[in-house]
Amino acid sequence: MEIKFDGVSKNYGPISAIKDLSFTVKQGDFVFITGPSGSGKSTIIKLILNQIKPSSGQIEVNGVTPKTQQEIDDNRRKIGVIFQDFQMINDLTVEENIALNLDIVDYPNDQRLVAIDNALKKMKLQNRRYLFPMQLSGGELQRACLARALAISPQLILADEPTGNLDPINAWNLVKYLKQENELRGTTIIMTTHHTDIVKSLNKKVIKLEKNS
């Protein structure tokens, strides 16, 4: 999936979150978005998801600016999202959370179980399958979130500060999984982070934001 920002600005009242931002993320790219708190990293993720609208400029997904709700929903179903606050549904087990996402993207019925098994296996969460999000540790929760995103075989993974709540080992493991997904399946990855050591060591494209840019 290709994402193009063309002169995008976003204001929240008098506060400018991002200003005249332009970049292109090509299919198969692994891109880090870095910058201090309040520089607009999460705003970019929300703009790609069409959770918020830009104040000016254009955002294209695969060369098209989605206009109708149907187009927005269609694009969202191609994206695996790892939210900063996880956003797992608390009264569903890990397995049910993944199954819900598969149902939303209308994944073939006969392949759902295999997709869940594979995602849980990849994230080493087989023995956490029937647990509820509240029963998982921070690291497990983050992996469950990634498992939910990976299960749908997305064209793009949006990871909003996925390492923010993790210890260094778990943070590295998560990045390793994302890198693997990018290299093996060619999935486009956009990850926001302020862990400069991770960014430096992976040697991938970086969009560096500055506060009030």
């Binding site: 149907q70 929903d73 694009n75 939303i104």
Partner: protein, 290 residues
């Protein structure tokens, strides 16, 4: 299948809210069914008397056979008269004894001589009876008294008409109550699941997808409420069936026709479905916009 599981989870997580919605629906459908059954019963009694229009012309004593035969022939000649039956004094005594067979005190002092002979006249059209009554009231030398069922029919029609008016007001009131209670319950559930809906939307779920479990929930309230409300009324009516039918005898107030009950059950299920769906549709449209 996923939506059914989802809806079941909604019902399970807040059972008391669901119970209130179902109980309100049940009360509304109980009242609706009760009005339907009572109205049907009254209509059936009314039809019975309408299809058996009859007057009784009580005759004066001492009339000779020729006068009686001439009067009978005169009535029979009127168009749309179905039957003219002569009930002699002796026959009237037989009928009286049969009617009061369980009360010997009422029968032992009565003889045929004190009971009047009469003509029982039935017609295909009840309006003819009114003409017969007017014609024979004028024959004072022949007729002692005329009794016919106009008053009873008018009284029954009055009751049925009043019942229909009361039913419209009461059912509308309870329908509105059911709508608002169910709306509040589903609204609360949507508010409680705001985060889940928002996450599902970000994962690509369409508006209809996130609304569907609430629509199914509304339909379940409607279907369960209508079924339980109907069954309660049905059981109540079945337990009072004999008493009601004896009271309205010879007309039948409570029918035994299974088709009648199946037909109304299906109609109420359909109404329950529509009410539940409409309520949940309106509420989910109002609350789920993001």
């Amino acid at each position: 299948m996923h939506h059914i599981t989802h809806t079941w989870r909604h019902l399970r997580r807040s059972p008391f809210q669901s119970l209130i919605a179902i109980m309100t629906m049940t009360v509304s459908f109980f009242i609706l069914t009760m009005f339907i059954f009572v109205n049907s019963g009254l209509n059936s009694v009314l039809n019975y008397f309408n299809t058996k229009p009859e007057i009784t012309i009580f005759l004066k004593d001492g009339l000779d056979k020729a006068t009686l035969e001439s009067a009978q022939a005169e009535i029979a000649a009127i168009p749309e008269i179905r039957e003219v039956r002569f009930v002699s004094k002796e026959k009237a005594l037989e009928l009286y004894k049969d009617l009061n067979k369980n009360n010997p005190l009422l029968t032992e002092m009565v003889t045929a001589s004190i009971l009047p002979a009469s003509f029982e006249v039935s017609a295909y059209n009840p309006k003819v009876l009114e003409a017969v009554a007017q014609k024979f009231t004028a024959k004072a030398n022949l007729v002692d008294e005329i009794v016919y069922q106009k008053d009873l029919i008018e009284s029954l029609m009055g009751w049925t008409s009043m019942l229909k008016k009361v039913a419209i007001v009461v059912i509308t009131f309870f329908g509105i109550v059911a709508f608002f209670v169910t709306s509040v319950v589903i609204g609360l559930k949507i508010t409680n699941r705001k985060d889940e809906i928002s996450t599902s939307r970000l994962l690509g779920a369409s508006l209809f997808y996130v609304k569907k479990p609430f629509l199914i929930e509304g339909i379940i309230y409607g279907l369960v409420g209508s079924t339980v409300g109907y069954l309660i009324t049905f059981i109540l009516q079945a337990s009072f069936k004999n008493k009601l039918n004896t009271f309205f005898s010879p007309a039948i107030f409570v029918t035994s026709d299974p088709l009648y009950y199946i037909q109304w059950f299906v109609v109420e299920l359909f109404i329950g479905f529509i009410v539940g769906l409409t309520t949940s549709f309106v509420v989910s449209k109002r609350y789920i916009k993001w």
